[in-house]
Symmetry: D3
Subunit: 159 residues, 6 copies
């Protein structure tokens, strides 16, 4: 089994040397769900004209957070994303809103962390905008769905 790449032999954290990696097309898709009271979900979806800025604000926050990833995650490399998408879809059966992100770049490191950061911050923003009516909202299933490119190639979450 592989070792933790972010630690040297003394167990000390360092930013992994990617100097010898190839520049390839890399992409990643992540997801999260924000669960809430049915009445909260209804409030967000009702009157799309009046409540429109809720979902737009989450999208913008998620996109901007993907760019801030190297500022947030200590050992992440700065990189040049070529594409970021964040989408929010209601899942009435789960009484929640599903958030998905997609990040892409042509570079030496993967964009998994950027995709995961985008959904996390979009979810936190959704919490922020609705917390006055529903403090018990829960963010769950923050996970990588799929990645491509790089040495480890294509990877897809099970199930």
């Amino acid at each position: 089994m592989s070792e933790f790449t972010h630690l040297n032999e003394q167990g000390e954290a360092h930013m992994v040397d990617v100097g010898d990696k190839d520049i390839t097309e890399r992409s990643a898709r992540a997801t999260a769900i924000v669960k809430m009271q049915p009445t909260t979900l209804k409030m967000i979806l009702d009157g799309s004209h009046k409540k429109g800025d809720v979902l737009a604000t989450c999208r913008i926050a998620g996109i901007m957070a993907a760019k801030k990833c190297p500022d947030l995650i200590p050992l992440c490399h700065t990189l040049l994303l070529t594409s970021v998408k964040v989408e929010l879809h209601p899942e009435p059966d789960n009484s929640g809103i599903r958030i998905t992100s997609f990040c892409k770049l042509s570079g030496k490191t993967g964009v998994e962390m950027e995709a995961l950061t985008a959904v996390s911050v979009a979810a936190l923003t959704l919490y922020d905008m609705c917390k006055a009516v529903d403090k018990g909202m829960v963010i769950s299933d923050v996970k990588l769905v799929e990645k491509s490119g790089g040495r480890s190639g294509h990877w897809q979450a099970e199930g």
Copy 2:
């Protein structure tokens, strides 16, 4: 039922006016769990000397993220945290690591978003440090546990 405080009557996002709120002691506690393969958990816990920087890096990332909250969450107010704690505890029965945060300030707005941001970024950092061995890790149950202070007073999550 209360309205979404972050939207005006036209449904447009704005930063809520807290000018008339009282300056009170406020605190918030949040939690999250990062689930992983049992072998991944074992690798983190084994040889605490060698692997020590994994958990320390997550703590530092979480604390720094709490301070960056107004940069990440579009409508959050800048505020002066007086205390931030981030703790990570293994939960072998859940095959995961539980992250908790505690934030405090004396001010006009609550620190719920700071506490939630701290656990989220600590969890993302844990994912980052272990992703070479376990891409299927999942961050779940990101939620507010308890808050105190402010107009709405004490609140505690159910269950």
Copy 3:
């Protein structure tokens, strides 16, 4: 006539000492106009459902920029805004979109720069979102409209 407060006697820049200033309620209102081709304005306004994110993105960018003011303007003090609003209104007669901002705090320094930064960045964001169809857009009349609080009290732009 008053001196430039941001320079010492040697003409060197410094951050003005506001330690002895009173904590008072302060507010500022600023404005700007983004002029464009009539067809560009029509595209933004047509189909409010489809184009809704244009104006929402500008609002969010303006609000976030107000919080980043001390990072952008070298001699600005960090401060705790209690309220930020950014509004965009079409002015078909001017073939443009008028942006206004309103910032408030209770503190030792005014919020003029925060209000001006908010309209400037909202205007730049509008340019960014429409530049593929109209590179000749012009941002004009970025100015303070009104301020209140502090030693100099209430001030209102002429005309």
Copy 4:
């Protein structure tokens, strides 16, 4: 007529996919003017020894702002500027100071927003440094003058 590139078919904001664009030399030149009272202009220009830091501070602020563009403008790509210049020239006939910027890179996206952000923040900094003597200063004519490189090639403002 081209569509708004920053919106998808549902009208939702996203960061445009530039993955397939060519890496070419790109540059952009922008300008703005800060109009003020003749006595304010005289104070800035008089005694260049004593007042030297006013213009230097604006230049530095503009250059640093060009680098912060992806943090400010939500849908801008992070990019690697190879050159940034900011110049300030008095225009006594306009009772103002003309600011021009020039940005360059070798990359997949243009640098128009970086050039516009540089002049905007340099102008805001000038306002900040002189606001104690002249709150009525106005920033106008913030616009792109010229750009080169990329798919749309060379473009020059009319008039």
Copy 5:
């Protein structure tokens, strides 16, 4: 002897709880020296008209860095500086430039780190601007000179 305040009983880093501290006037003064070749120092000082931006750029960088302290030093509290000054003075006998900073606030934590960060970043900026002619420049004696306010009161460096 006092314990390390930034570690809990398990030796884990946390942001110290200053909630119970008094709001008092606090200030700190720090210093550093940048040593260089005599010809480098001469180049900086010669022709103050032509080389003026060297020292101005260092001052601005130092002041802005003081404001970024909580972003840089993981366990520092965000705070509201009321005054920042950075000065650079040639010391021909030491073949160097002495940098001093002075920071002030009314708050619950001291500003020692802000003052030390200001001189450090001003010194790094000086290195950056002169490195093309003198890569062997050395930054030394970065230290706190004096502090006042807070529980520990006035403190002055020996010697």
Copy 6:
């Protein structure tokens, strides 16, 4: 002798045009020493289990600061570091802790400033964590040890 590259003919600061420079492998190594009371050094080293987070926090702060270099040093180019390492070693004979950093990238500009910023911020963080027991700590000998790549090729500090 070469001129200051960061100033134009009028002595005004600008970001050097590196557009024509070659993309080469570049690296830099920097160092600093933090001197302290022998009892302070002993406290850091004693009980490595309990005090482990002190050195880990400094490493993380140094690595993150290397990434923030273009935000801190006004005329630095944004760049894509491929590797950052920060190490801390006690030097009991000097009653201090030696900090070294190593940065690498494949790009058009050197990484000297990134390496120097990493050791400076790691040293400031060490000061922060120990200042409650030893305010008289001094950071010295912040200097470039070695660099490679680029037009000026390999360079090594004397002595």
